[in-house]
Amino acid sequence: MAMVDKKSSAGTETVVPKQTLAKRLDRIQMHIRREWQIYLMLVPTILWFIVFLYKPMYGLQIAFKDYSIFRGIAGSPWVGFEHFGTLFTNDQFIRAVKNTITISALNLIFAFPAPIILALMFNEVLNASYKRTAQTIVYLPHFISSVIIAGIVITAFSPTAGIVNTVMGWLGIDPIYFLTQPEWFRPIFVGTGIWQEAGFGSIVFLAAIAGVNPSLYESAVVDGANRWQMMWKITIPSILPTILIMLIIRIGNIMEVSFELVILLYQPATYETADVVNTWVYRQGLQSGQYDLAAAAGLFNAVVAFVLVMTANTLSRRFSRTSLW
């Protein structure tokens, strides 16, 4: 017997028959048979998700166990939330959480708007060849390995031969060993991130700008708007949905500060401001062999990121009608 779904429309009630489960499954089967090539192309991605994202979730349980590599995951005894208790009383972990949030907040404030500003600037460049050249130059750092990027940064800020200290020397300023001083780590880290990724990140926003209906600009020109007004009143509002989607993704990754770059740039002298959750997990898990504690920290990270992305998505949907799902 078909189920019914009552929908109220303009004060009247209509009865809409609901598909039975069997019918729905039939339709899905028909669709798969008809579009099998598309489903076949989906298989590698699904496999990737299963092997690298879902299967490892089995190992998450070690966050709640006194894990021993000799007893294995199944053989290790349960300890409940003991590791989480340890984490939240560990000063170094608390410091790593604070550092992660601080660096992510700085990234949100400075690094997130950078590609948007860059894209808006590129959009205003009229000379096509100049625009292409400038774009290529700013895209390039993205394709350089983080190891080389870190090498360049370390060299640039070196107290002896670094260009920064050399220029400061010309100005009569004493050399500073930037990378050993905690207060300089965050500006250098965020600045390096902007230099490396702002150009490449601008591609998404440039694509969004390219999608803005040209008639909107023509209409604004006839109405008397100048380029500045068009940027504020047409371009930015038109790419706002893209900005919000990218912001939600960024918020979802707030606990994922670029692990490679931190590992490459930090040192014990700068742990105070540089040590983030991921590097702490790396040291505890791989270097100290405390896999269960590291798993608990990783799980904590994931739960916080999940809550943040859900909240950001809900807020965005409520206030701007734009959301990831």
């Binding site: 008639s215 909107l216 020109v221 006839v222 008397g224 708007a225």
Partner: protein
């Protein structure tokens, strides 16, 4: 209100010339429609008037002012675009107010103008809605509202109805016509739809390949097309056209087309043109079912009858060339089945030179 005057307007993109020196004078308060097939240069011409395209050569004047080098905002024109160009992030009121805000019009004046315009266009209850929440017709009205609130000297319409369905197009056409009567603003309207052109225009400018083919009132173009292009473009269904050779007879000139003889009594100017190759043009609407005194008869074999309700289209051939007649049904089509001849008054037969395609002098 100002008129618009185009003198020798040329548009080139690099080495390619797309508008070839057109001359057009639009009188103040006149509604002029530029019509022609895709790529004929009509939208480019409109955009040159708006200032959205640079004029390669020639002069464009709005009122007495030469505006070739004047920025669009200073030309005192307002434009309605094909895809409405409504700002998706602004509601109806904000969309309509956009141009006024840019021009720093006082807020109370903006509110008053918007309220008045919304009332004229029936948009009062939609002022808070965003374009995405409006129907196609409502969006079109908002686009017009945005133009109206500016109180411009000239309205420019770039195929504003082409995104609407047939029913809505007819409705909006009437609204635009009413609005023009009410506001009396000089309007230049671009369309590829000759029905729109015929119903809206005070004068129609037919364009093809970057040239003006003919300028005239709708009825002038319908009754006296200057060439075969205009004859074929204006009218629905289009004018029947077939090749013929002129012959003289005691009763007057005759057009001989594939064994069919068409009397051209009254077109005495054609006497002595025997042997001249021409194109005969007969409007489907000018074909009659019964002979009258002096009418020319065309023997036919009926291929198909298309019933439109009060009218029917009779499809047949003159020689190998398709021929369509539009006749009244008076509520039934039974009497059309056995027809074996169609009739036309000689004065209704249009003749065009076969070589040049231009109309040959004839009685109206």
């Amino acid at each position: 209100m100002s008129g618009v005057k185009l003198e020798g307007i040329v548009k080139r993109y690099g080495a390619v010339e797309v508008v070839h020196g057109i001359d057009l004078e639009i009188k103040p308060q006149e509604f002029v429609v530029l019509v022609g097939p895709s790529g004929c240069g009509k939208s480019t011409t409109l955009r040159m008037i708006a200032g959205l395209e640079e004029i390669s050569d020639g002069e464009c004047r709005i009122g007495d002012r030469l505006v070739n080098r004047v920025a669009p905002k200073d030309r005192d024109v307002a434009m309605v675009f094909q895809n409405y160009a409504l700002y998706p992030h602004l509601n109806v009121a904000e969309n309509m107010a956009f141009g006024l805000r840019i021009r720093k019009t006082p807020k109370d004046e903006i509110a008053k103008t918007i309220a008045e315009t919304a009332k004229i266009l029936g948009l009062t209850e939609y002022l808070e809605r965003r374009p995405a929440d409006l129907s196609g017709g409502q969006r079109q009205r908002v686009a017009m509202g945005r133009a109206i609130v500016r109180h411009p000297d000239v309205f420019l319409f770039d195929e504003p109805l082409s995104n609407l369905d047939a029913k809505l197009r007819t409705q909006m056409r009437a609204e635009i016509k009413r609005l023009h009567k009410r506001l009396g603003v000089t309007s230049v309207y671009v369309t590829h739809d000759q029905v729109e052109a015929m119903t809206l225009a005070d004068r129609i400018v037919v364009m093809a390949d970057g040239n003006i083919e003919q300028i005239g009132t709708p009825m002038e173009l319908f009754n006296n097309p200057a060439n075969v292009f205009v004859a074929g473009f204006i009218g629905s269904p289009p004018m029947n056209q077939f090749e013929a050779t002129l012959e003289d007879s005691d009763a007057g000139p005759i057009a001989h087309a594939n064994g069919t003889l068409i009397q051209l009594h009254g077109q005495e100017a054609l006497r002595g043109s025997a042997g001249r190759d021409v194109i005969v043009g007969i409007r489907p609407e000018h074909v009659m079912l019964s002979a009258e005194e002096g009418t020319a008869s065309i023997p036919i074999e009926l291929d198909l009858i298309e019933t439109l309700g009060s009218e029917a289209l009779l499809h047949t051939h003159v020689g190998d060339v398709p021929f369509v007649a539009k006749v009244e049904t008076h509520g039934e089509i039974g009497h059309l089945q056995g027809i074996n001849a169609l009739h036309v008054k000689p004065a209704r037969v249009k003749l065009f030179d076969k070589e040049t395609g231009r109309a040959i002098g004839q009685a109206a």
